[in-house]
């Protein structure tokens, strides 16, 4: 299977899995439903953007619009999931000092990973060639990578429970996006060319999409089991 088809399959898989989870939670009516609906929208838009890049590379407006919307959906989705404990009124269970330190550390890592892209956007801004799609894409990476801290903390806090898996899978999916963003540096470090770069980017997308789909499937399964009363004697 070509990398092109593989990537289409991965985006579609993640969009369907997230959509299924969103449907379990009445789409926009519940906190979890909103998060999964946004994840589904993100992957659907990434799929459209990816196909457009091949089929209509000159459709700048459509390419920009889908990229911007996908990135905004991604930020909102991860944000909603990262603050589930706060939204439920039990965010106080995690120490504020730990949250601040870990989030600051994650932000530092995010900036380090995105520094080349951030500098490129800064240069583009100064030379008046800034593209909104590219800028929002970089900022979305920084925000998403920073949110790995609250996701990891939720994973640890909820360990032993079904929800822990969901947050753990989502944290790993963020790592997938990190691999995708850092592909140029990774390929450079191993002396790889354009093919290696493409392969690493696809590997990053594969990690991000499959783990997001795993989180969505776990969420759907946990809801299904709870509603069936299968957890009654667990």
């Amino acid at each position: 299977m070509s990398l092109f088809l593989l990537r289409i399959f991965l985006y579609a898989l993640a969009a369907v899995a997230a959509g299924t989870a969103a449907a379990k939670f009445a789409w926009w009516h519940e906190h979890l439903g909103r998060a999964w609906a946004l994840f589904s929208l993100e992957f659907l838009l990434l799929l459209v953007n990816y196909v457009l890049r091949r089929a209509a590379p000159d459709a700048a407006l459509a390419l920009n619009a889908t990229l911007i919307a996908a990135n905004l959906a991604q930020i909102a989705a991860y944000w909603l999931m990262a603050r589930v404990l706060d939204a439920a009124g039990i965010g106080y269970l995690m120490s504020m000092a730990k949250r601040v330190i870990l989030t600051a550390a994650a932000l530092a890592v995010a900036i380090a990973l995105c520094h080349a892209s951030l500098l490129a956007q800064w240069q583009a801004l100064r030379s008046g060639t800034l593209q909104s799609g590219a800028l929002i894409s970089v900022l979305a990476d920084v925000v998403t990578f920073t949110l790995v801290a609250p996701l990891a903390m939720s994973t640890l806090a909820l360990r032993g429970g079904r929800l822990s898996w969901i947050f753990g899978f989502l944290a790993v999916s963020v790592v997938g996006w990190m691999i995708n963003t850092g592909a140029t540096s990774i390929a450079g470090a191993f002396g790889g060319g354009a093919d290696a770069l493409r392969l690493i980017r696809t590997a990053g997308v594969a990690v991000a999409t499959t783990f997001n789909a795993a989180a969505a499937a776990t969420q759907s399964f946990a809801a299904h089991r709870a509603m069936k009363g299968a957890g009654a004697d667990a």
Partner: protein, 78 residues
């Protein structure tokens, strides 16, 4: 001999939230209903306790699953 109320609620919450968060949450909600030690929770406290737990579960696991968990707690503590 029936299982103490705290144990029952804990076992239901732990399935989803894990033992650590379940314990901390129950301790906090027990205090809210005026019971400093969760081991002293009685069947009389359950309706108030559930009233507080339900919105938290609605967000954490969704409304449908939350209703199932709450119904389970009511059934086992009633």
């Amino acid at each position: 001999m029936p299982e103490p109320i705290a144990e029952t609620v804990l076992s239901k919450l732990s399935v989803h939230l894990g033992p650590h968060v379940a314990k901390m949450t129950l301790r906090s909600f027990a205090k809210k209903v005026g019971v400093p030690d969760q081991a002293q929770l009685t069947a009389a406290h359950v309706p108030r306790l559930i009233e507080d737990i339900r919105p938290m579960l609605n967000v954490m696991i969704g409304k449908g699953p939350s209703e199932s968990v709450v119904a389970d707690i009511e059934r086992l503590t009633g």
